[in-house]
């Protein structure tokens, strides 16, 4: 009798583990999709490929679709399994991460849309050099954040979160530069404004990547580090980690 119950609980927990693993796999699949959307939207901008830009804007529904289905799976797991401790933290972090990933998808969609609009206009002489640079930085941040999520590596997550200030600085620089360009040549205002929207979207994506890093720390250490300065967290985590 006892062995029977034992087997039963063992069986359930194994199935539960598999369910959590499946959720993790789908979460990172969504991450991969979002990464590709961002990559394509930036390529559309730099190459002036309006068709690709439209494709990115159109493909956003895939990201949304994944968000809804992962959300449902998480609710189901909470309702049926009543996870506790680290399992609960994991499910909560997944629910939050997919929201951020979905927002990143929206920003990529916006960049795609703006790219197809910008493709119709004259391209600036520097061929979006700054945007390209910022884009590469943000893409790397997102990629590393998702890697940290896959590896549940809180230390890496903290390092990535610290990089966000570089992205913010870069965004500031682009803004200042854009203002100069607009004052010099008012005819370019429309184009520069659109470009600025792209930079803004990239900056937002950086923020969402930081959020994902924070969820990783929460998942691993059970510590909520939102709205706390990164230095403080590192100081605290240095003791804790």
């Amino acid at each position: 009798m006892t062995t029977g119950t034992e087997e039963l609980t063992h069986h359930y927990s194994r199935q539960f583990n598999e369910e959590l693993e499946a959720i993790r796999a789908r979460l990172l699949e969504m991450g991969g999709l979002v990464e590709r959307q961002l990559k394509r939207s930036l390529r559309a901008l730099v190459k002036g490929d309006s068709e690709l830009g439209e494709k990115v804007a159109h493909d956003d529904y895939q990201v949304n679709h994944l968000e809804v289905s992962i959300d449902e799976e998480c609710s189901r797991v909470i309702a049926l399994r009543q996870p506790t401790a680290s399992d609960l933290r994991f499910v909560m972090a997944v629910i939050k991460s997919i929201t951020d990933l979905e927002r990143i998808g929206d920003e990529a969609e916006k960049i795609g849309f703006l790219s197809s609009r910008l493709a119709a206009q004259e391209r600036p002489e520097n061929r979006y050099k700054e945007i390209k640079h910022l884009g590469r930085q943000v893409r790397e941040m997102l990629h590393n954040a998702l890697d940290a999520l896959a590896r549940l590596d809180a230390e890496a997550a903290l390092t990535i979160a610290q990089e966000d200030s570089n992205v913010d600085d870069e965004y500031e620089a682009i803004m200042r530069q854009s203002i100069t360009v607009m004052m010099e040549d008012p005819r370019s205002i429309r184009r520069v404004l659109d470009t600025l929207w792209v930079a803004r979207a990239l900056e937002r994506i950086g923020d969402h990547a930081v959020n994902i890093c924070e969820y990783v720390v929460y998942m691993v250490h059970g510590k909520d580090i939102r709205h706390v300065s990164v230095e403080q967290v590192v100081a605290e985590a240095g003791v804790d980690v």
């Binding site: 693993e21 993790r24 796999a25 990172l28 699949e29 991450g31 991969g32 999709l33 990464e35 590709r36 990559k39 990629h143 998702l146 890697d147 896959a150 590896r151």
Partner: protein, 428 residues
């Protein structure tokens, strides 16, 4: 364990019991003597079991080898087996080390996956190309290689074709990924850096396209002036013939360049992007009209349209393939020769064929027919105004439509070119 050793055990035991009985008879109370001797025997055996157990489990104390009788033999046997295992382990370890050293030296990233797609081993190049670190052992590969194309590839489990992917670490690196299943559910993932090859291939394709394109504009200028010169009524008579020849040759050159451009366009992508149903009957009528318009000929161009089916594909490409076939038929048969265009289908798919009653093609030439610039009769074919690229274009177009070209020919009687489209490409 030899049989004699066991015999000895029994003999010894019996002897001990005998001695006990004898002692009992001499000193009285033989049962107690027997019990005492057997208890001593049991204690001795238990002692050796205890030592063996401690030696095996705790590796404690020296190897208890010296013992009389069966125990000595058991110890020796254990020792031998253990030595054997140790040697084997050493050998395997050395082999494994060498294997890992050699795979680490491979220029390709290699990752060993188990049946659940978890990483069990990887070499150092995998870090550089795929970003898979040493600590990722046990991690599922699709959590780290998240490109949707790769996930799809892994899920479909059809590994006969490699997958092209950009490195997640450095997007300038182009990789081809191969997964080789082996053993029980194990998989070996190999990623090869093909950045250089991809660039060379692109340069080669671009060159053909660009060169043709660049040649076109000067040629347009030349033929423009030639047309003017030809129309000029005041030109000396001695110039008439050379100018006419120049006009003919520049027209030939133009068609050559057009064909080269078509070919490089076809090569740029591997499959037809358009997937609209193409009305083959209409296309056949159009091709026939063009053939009749190309020049006066006595022989008929017959149409036999036996199928209603349409082909899924790109209309302009199919037109250029069919037109090239018909053009060849016109070119290589006598003016009074009959040309037959036929379109029919059966269970295996659709067939578009062009039959002529021309000179025919020698058997030795058939395999090389679709090569670029290949000519059966060097001088004669050029005089007829062919570019030597027609059948190469036909072959490329058919490849892009999953179709094949079959050629049968008889010298002096004529040739039959048949395009075979698979069932999956037909629309009823």
């Amino acid at each position: 364990m030899s049989r004699s050793a066991w015999g000895l055990v029994i003999v010894r035991l019996l002897a001990a019991v005998g001695v006990a009985v004898a002692a009992g008879l001499v000193f009285g109370q033989p049962e107690l003597w027997v019990i005492g001797v057997l208890a001593g025997y049991l204690a001795w055996n238990l002692y050796h079991v205890y030592r063996l157990d401690r030696w095996l489990r705790l590796r404690e104390g020296t190897r208890p080898r010296k013992a009389i009788g069966v125990w000595g033999q058991i110890y020796a046997e254990f020792h031998r087996i253990r030595q054997l295992n140790r040697d084997r382990k050493k050998r395997l370890n050395r082999l494994l080390k060498e294997f890992r050293k050699s795979t680490s030296a491979l220029p390709d990233a290699s990752v060993v996956l188990n049946a659940k797609n978890e990483i069990t081993w990887r070499n150092d190049v995998a870090q550089r190309f795929l970003g898979i670190a040493k600590k990722d052992r046990g991690q599922k590969i699709d959590l780290l290689l998240r490109d949707p194309d790769f996930i799809e590839y892994l899920r479909r489990k059809q590994f006969d074709r490699p997958l092209s992917l950009r490195s997640p670490v450095d997007s300038r690196i182009k990789l081809t990924i191969r997964i080789i299943p082996y053993g029980t559910g194990q998989q070996l993932l190999l990623a090869k850096d093909v950045t250089r090859e991809a660039r060379l291939e692109k340069i080669r394709k671009d060159f053909a396209g660009n060169a043709s394109h660049e040649l076109r504009s000067p040629l347009t200028v030349i033929s423009g002036y030639l047309d003017n010169l030809e129309a000029d009524p005041e030109k000396p008579d001695s110039w008439k013939e050379p100018i006419r020849e120049m006009v003919v040759q520049s027209a030939r050159m133009r068609s050559l360049i057009e064909d080269l451009l078509t070919l490089s366009r076809l090569e740029a992508s591997s499959s037809a992007t358009n997937d609209e149903p193409v009305d083959v009957r209409g296309l056949a009528c159009l091709v026939r009209k063009d053939a009749l318009a190309a020049g006066p000929r006595e022989g008929a161009v017959e149409l036999k349209l036996e199928s209603e089916a349409a082909i899924r594909g790109a209309e302009t490409e199919l037109y250029s393939a069919f037109w090239n076939l018909v053009q060849n038929a016109v070119k290589y048969s006598a003016p009074e020769g009959v040309i037959e265009i036929r379109w029919w289908d059966d269970d295996d798919g659709g067939y578009f064929s062009v039959k002529d009653t021309g000179a025919g093609i020698p058997e030795s030439a058939l395999p090389r027919l679709t090569e670029r610039f290949y000519r059966v009769h060097k001088g004669r074919d050029r005089a007829r105004g062919g570019t030597g690229l027609g059948l190469a274009i036909v072959k490329h177009v058919l490849q892009r439509h999953d179709a094949s070209l079959e050629v049968t020919s008889e010298l002096g009687k004529g040739s039959l070119f048949t395009c075979h489209f698979p069932r999956s490409r037909l629309v009823e």
